[in-house]
Amino acid sequence: MSPGPGTEDRPEWTADEMMTVAASRQLRDGTACFVGIGLPSTAANLARATHAPNLVLIYESGCLGAKPDRLPLSIGDGILADTAESVVSVPEVFNYWLQPGRIDVGFLGAAQLDRLGNLNTTVIGGSYEDPKVRLPGAGGAPEIAASCREVVVVVRQTPRTFVDTVDFVTSVGYGRGPGDRERLGLRGGGPRLVITDLGVLEPDPDSLELTLTRLHPGATVAQARAATGWPLAVSDDLVTSDPPTDVELTALRALTATLGARA
């Protein structure tokens, strides 16, 4: 049977699994990755379980080089401290490790994202003072987005998430366009990839606008356009992601089965 998402009734893998696998593949062995909780943590631990055993996981709780054998529910589960090469204070992780640009990749999620990769995790609708939906807020994201050598965003693609204008800029992608990061003094490279359940977006080399460069097996350009709140540009060299391998799927499912396990 050829690779693909199977039939609609019995997919061989879910779109979330494909997204997580695609994200994990972006992490090169031996690099250092600042890991947010949720999909980023799953993807980073999948990478460590497959092709990148020496990936250095940095959690904002202060765990440097954590090697959890199960998925933590929070960024501060005991398994992270137990397996870390060292545990430092929270001020130290931000000041000595993130801020100077030592971290290769920052993995972020978002509630909203615009075509220049600016992210919102603060408020949706209404005003800041009187929002329709109050989200958790910034956490480590603004400085992860500013200081990591590159940023990878992992987020499900929907018109509610992929919006023309974010309601609040919590974390800067490319700001208002070329030159903006430099003008703002942001020293990291910005969002290099946005990995979704449908495919992968990358900034256009000139305009920096997020452009569909890859589709996951079974997904279509029409689906991606329908899931995007701006007129989505599509690369001339659009390619299709390799489907998850058996090794990847087995490792991923073994990992997710352990989510938040207590012992």
Partner: protein, 272 residues
């Protein structure tokens, strides 16, 4: 030198209506029991400070203890939103909650400045985000040597900081380890401090990764075994992740929340 007190006496003495209060903890060692005692004692108009307000702040907010929240990430880690926090912000229930919002890097450095006796801290942060538009105390500062523009945030100096730790000795020296977050800075930045501990022991055996808070910078210590549940104390307990997942349902509805709090917090004493 720290005095050894009961939790009820410690809260009664150290936390007053209108205070700026930080109950710190980064997922690990969150002082839940102390927060419950604040709720039982009916404190009002608190300015709650914390990098990661989570379920205990959701409870304090939902019970009407707070009028202000200074924070950088208000969620139920790995689960989702804090419904009582959202209800307060979106609907002023049970009372209006004013926000002062930062990033983690900013809040951490604000504690560092407080602990260091400096009026402000400098960082690379916030630039280009919408946070400075809504949080007045984020300012630009230029390097006197290079002219480069950076960001300044003012020191945090809570009236009282409350943290949970694994152990104290009888002289009131406190020992914590595992993920120690910003607790040392939060205690050193505060005017007063209360530390709840799993146990009071004769001698603090050194432990890798330990942080020591000497007795002479701690106001009071209360022995409260299990005082961080559903958070955890490395070496004593593990995080009750099921509780955090279950909180999502309990806290979604105002009545369910109130009933839960009545039964599990208000109607019980210290030994919840």
């Amino acid at each position: 030198m720290a005095r050894i007190v009961s939790l009820a006496d410690g809260i009664a003495e150290l936390v007053s209506d209108g205070d700026v209060v930080a109950l710190e903890g980064f997922t690990h060692l969150i002082p839940f029991a102390a927060g419950h005692e604040i709720i039982r004692q009916g404190r009002r108009d608190l300015t709650l400070v914390r990098m990661t307000p989570d379920v205990i702040y959701d409870q304090l907010i939902g019970m009407g203890c707070a009028s202000h929240l200074v924070f950088s990430w208000g969620g139920n880690p790995g689960v989702g939103s804090l419904h009582r926090f959202r209800d307060a912000v979106q609907n002023s229930w049970p009372t209006r909650l004013e926000l002062e919002e930062h990033s983690h890097a900013g809040m951490a450095n604000r504690y560092v400045a407080g602990a260091s006796g400096l009026p402000f801290a400098v960082l690379r942060g916030y630039t280009g985000t919408d946070l400075p538009r809504h949080t007045p105390n984020i300012k630009a500062i230029s390097c006197p040597f290079t002219g480069e523009l950076l960001t300044a945030v003012p020191a945090l100096r809570p009236d009282v900081t409350v943290v949970h730790a694994q152990r104290a000795d009888r002289a009131g020296n406190v020992q914590l380890w595992g993920i120690t977050g910003v607790q040392k800075e939060a205690v050193l930045a505060a005017h007063r401090s209360l530390v709840t501990v799993e146990e009071v022991v004769d001698r603090l055996e050194p432990v890798p990764g330990q942080v020591i808070l000497p007795s002479w910078v701690v106001t009071a210590v209360a022995e409260v075994p299990g005082g961080s549940h559903p958070s955890y104390a490395q070496g004593y307990s593990v995080r009750d992740n099921d509780f955090y997942v279950g909180w999502d349902e309990i806290s979604r509805d105002r009545d369910t929340f109130r009933q839960w709090m009545e039964r599990h917090v208000l109607e019980v004493g210290e030994l919840e």
